[in-house]
Structures are given as structure tokens and as C-alpha cells.
């Protein structure tokens, strides 16, 4: 890493939070014209309950839509530290996919901004403090859709 970027980093550290990657990618020359990077949504990621999180994401009333969103989660997770989540949507023009866990201290786990040409499919892994609902929120053609599934987080074996 060269001096220039280090400087950028220091600036970024002062700024803190959301503008970080924007500045970094700018400095790395990774940012293309017209490919504006969305800012890290601090309000949404700090939300302590589902309503707050949905509000911060700009969701008015999400439509429940189990048919066009496939949310794949384990029925039982042996360990809450790693719960695999796959969201796949057959809706046209998927713009954004969010993963939320209703009983986590911070409800919003991840937000994916899907550019044109990228499929409406993501897999990631989330932490879960206890048995809770995992919610997949999909934004397609400007409208929000959601689906939820419960994941049971079980007590470990003999403790190890």
C-alpha cells in the first residue's frame, strides 16, 4: 500500500463510518463513473427492532411474497455463531436484498445492492443469539417484498 492511500485511509478514519469505502475505492481507481457506491446505512444497521430497521431501509409496507423469494435457512442450527442464509428471488429487476434477524441486538445483518446483470441470489452466514426469525427483504422494480423463516438455535453438546 503506498503513501497516498495511507493518507486517504487516515482521512477516512477521521471521517469514520460510511464514506470509507467510497473514498478508498476512489483512491484505488476502482470506482467507475456512474457506479456510485451506496453509503453504509448507519441508522439501519443500528436498528434495535424490525420496525426501526425497515423504516431506515425506506420500506413502507413490504408485501409478503413466499412464491417469488426463496429463503433457505437451516431449520435447526447447531450453533448460532454460523447460520447460513441464502436468498434467491425470481422477481425481475432485483435491486436490493436485505437479511434481518428479528431477535438480534442489531436486527439488520446485511444489505446487498444488486447491479443489473447480477442475479437476485446471495448466500452469506449470520450470527443468531437465540431461536428467531430470519427475514429476507427483496426490493425489485422499486417495490419491497419479504419472507420470513424460523431458525431454531439449539443448546450445544456436552459443552464443547
Amino acid at each position: 500500500m503506498n503513501m497516498e492511500i495511507d493518507l486517504e485511509r487516515r482521512k477516512m478514519l477521521k471521517l469514520g463510518g460510511g464514506a470509507g469505502l467510497l473514498a478508498l475505492f476512489g483512491s484505488l481507481g476502482l470506482l467507475q463513473s456512474g457506479a456510485a457506491l451506496a453509503e453504509w446505512n448507519k441508522t439501519a444497521f443500528s436498528a434495535k427492532n424490525m420496525d426501526e430497521a425497515l423504516n431506515a431501509l425506506g420500506v413502507i409496507v413490504p408485501e409478503n411474497n413466499a412464491a417469488s423469494i426463496q429463503l433457505t435457512v437451516p431449520e435447526i442450527a447447531e450453533n448460532g455463531a454460523v447460520v447460513p442464509v441464502t436468498v434467491a428471488s425470481s422477481l425481475p429487476n432485483v435491486e436490493q436484498i436485505s437479511i434481518l434477524v428479528d431477535k438480534n441486538p442489531n436486527v439488520l445483518a446485511a444489505n446487498f445492492i444488486i447491479p443489473a446483470g447480477t442475479e437476485g441470489l446471495v448466500t452469506t452466514r449470520v450470527k443468531m443469539g437465540q431461536t428467531a426469525n430470519v427475514v429476507a427483504l427483496v426490493k425489485a422494480d422499486g417495490k419491497f417484498y419479504r419472507v420470513a423463516k424460523e431458525v431454531k438455535v439449539t443448546a450445544g453438546g456436552c459443552g464443547g
Binding site: 435447526i76 431454531k152 439449539t154 443448546a155 453438546g157 456436552c158 459443552g159
Partner: protein
């Protein structure tokens, strides 16, 4: 081929065959020696814990299939050592019992001396229908009281079984919770209540 090599081959061949009684005895002795040397104190788990009592030694030697005569002798000895509650009461509080049953803690080197041991019950048994994370090393105890009733005889049996499972089956997998000082009299009573109280989730 020299004599040493031939000797080596003979030794190897004899080892490859099933171990003979004399060899087995010497391997037993060597195993005991290695175990005594290679385990050390850590936290509350002192090295002396590897020293076996007569029952543990017999169950190890015969891999839990102790000859009948010895088995009965061991069981009788264990039964004699059971300390029954002085007040003649066997039932405590099932709610406290359920908490104990859930806890798998206690007596490991990472447990602190002041940490109370749990009952470890769900590790091996199904109890309340609500708890899906139960083990199957032991039999299901769901509806234990519902199917057996709540007579004093059943209460005494449940108490004894928890206090010292080996009094009933010398090489049972279940620990001797009372005999080894893992649980107190009051705690065992709470577990008896969990099994037998009609209000307990075990009997719902």
C-alpha cells in the same frame, strides 16, 4: 537373517495374533502406568482422578461386561452405600429440577470450585417434550411419572437410581450423582420431582 531379526519377527507375529492372557495382563499394567504418568492436575481436576475404585477397574477390565457373580457383588456394595433421605421424603421442586436437568456443567477442569454441578440429564435423556435438544445415550424419560404413577416406592426407586445408578447395573453409563458427591440430597429430590410430579413438564 540374524537371530535378532528372527526374534523381532516372532514378537511381531505374536502381537499380530490375538493378544494372549499374559500379554493382556502386561498391557493392562502398562496402560495403568502410562495413565498415571501422563495425566496432570488442572484446575479442580486433580491427577488422582485417574485412580480407579474397584467398580471402575472391573468395568474397564471387562469393557462393561463384568462376570455375573462379580456384577452382583459390586451392585450389592453400591446399594449398601446409598444414603437415603433422613426425613423419608423423596420429592423436591420440579422447577429447580428442570434447571438442574438442563445444566451440563460441573467438575471439569474449566469449572470453578464454587460453580455448582448440573444434572446433565438432557445430555442423555429425553425429559420435557418441549426440549428438543436431548440426548439418547440413556432411555427417554418422557412421561416417566405418568406411566409409573407417583407412589412412594417409585419415588424411592427414582431417588436411588439417581443417587447411584450402579446399584442397579454395575457398569451403567450413568454417573453416581449422590455417591460421588456431584449432587446434594436436595438436588436429587428436585430431580425426582421433575420425573414424578404430575405438574412437571415431563408428565405433560
Amino acid at each position: 537373517m540374524n537371530a535378532k531379526q528372527i526374534f523381532g519377527m516372532v514378537v511381531a507375529a505374536s502381537f499380530a495374533a490375538a493378544t494372549l492372557p499374559a500379554q493382556a495382563a502386561s498391557l493392562d499394567a502398562k496402560t495403568a502406568e502410562i495413565i498415571k504418568r501422563d495425566f496432570r492436575d488442572k484446575g479442580i481436576a486433580k491427577a488422582t482422578r485417574v485412580n480407579q475404585d474397584e467398580l471402575q477397574a472391573a468395568c474397564s477390565k471387562y469393557v462393561d461386561k463384568v462376570p455375573t457373580k462379580l456384577k452382583h457383588k459390586l451392585e450389592a456394595e453400591q446399594e449398601q452405600a446409598v444414603k437415603w433421605p433422613a426425613d423419608g421424603k423423596y420429592m423436591g421442586d420440579w422447577k429447580a429440577g428442570e434447571k438442574l436437568a438442563q445444566s451440563g456443567r460441573g467438575m471439569t477442569w474449566s469449572d470453578k470450585p464454587e460453580d455448582p454441578a448440573g444434572g446433565n440429564c438432557y445430555n442423555c435423556h429425553q425429559l420435557s417434550a418441549k426440549e428438543i435438544a436431548y440426548g439418547t445415550i440413556g432411555p427417554s424419560l418422557l412421561h416417566f411419572g405418568k406411566t409409573r404413577g407417583n407412589t412412594e416406592e417409585i419415588q424411592r426407586y427414582a431417588y436411588g437410581r439417581i443417587y447411584n445408578a450402579k446399584a442397579y447395573n454395575a457398569c451403567a453409563n450413568m454417573p453416581r450423582f449422590g455417591h460421588m458427591g456431584i449432587l446434594s440430597e436436595a438436588q436429587i429430590k428436585d430431580l425426582v420431582a421433575l420425573l414424578l410430579d404430575p405438574e412437571s413438564p415431563v408428565n405433560k
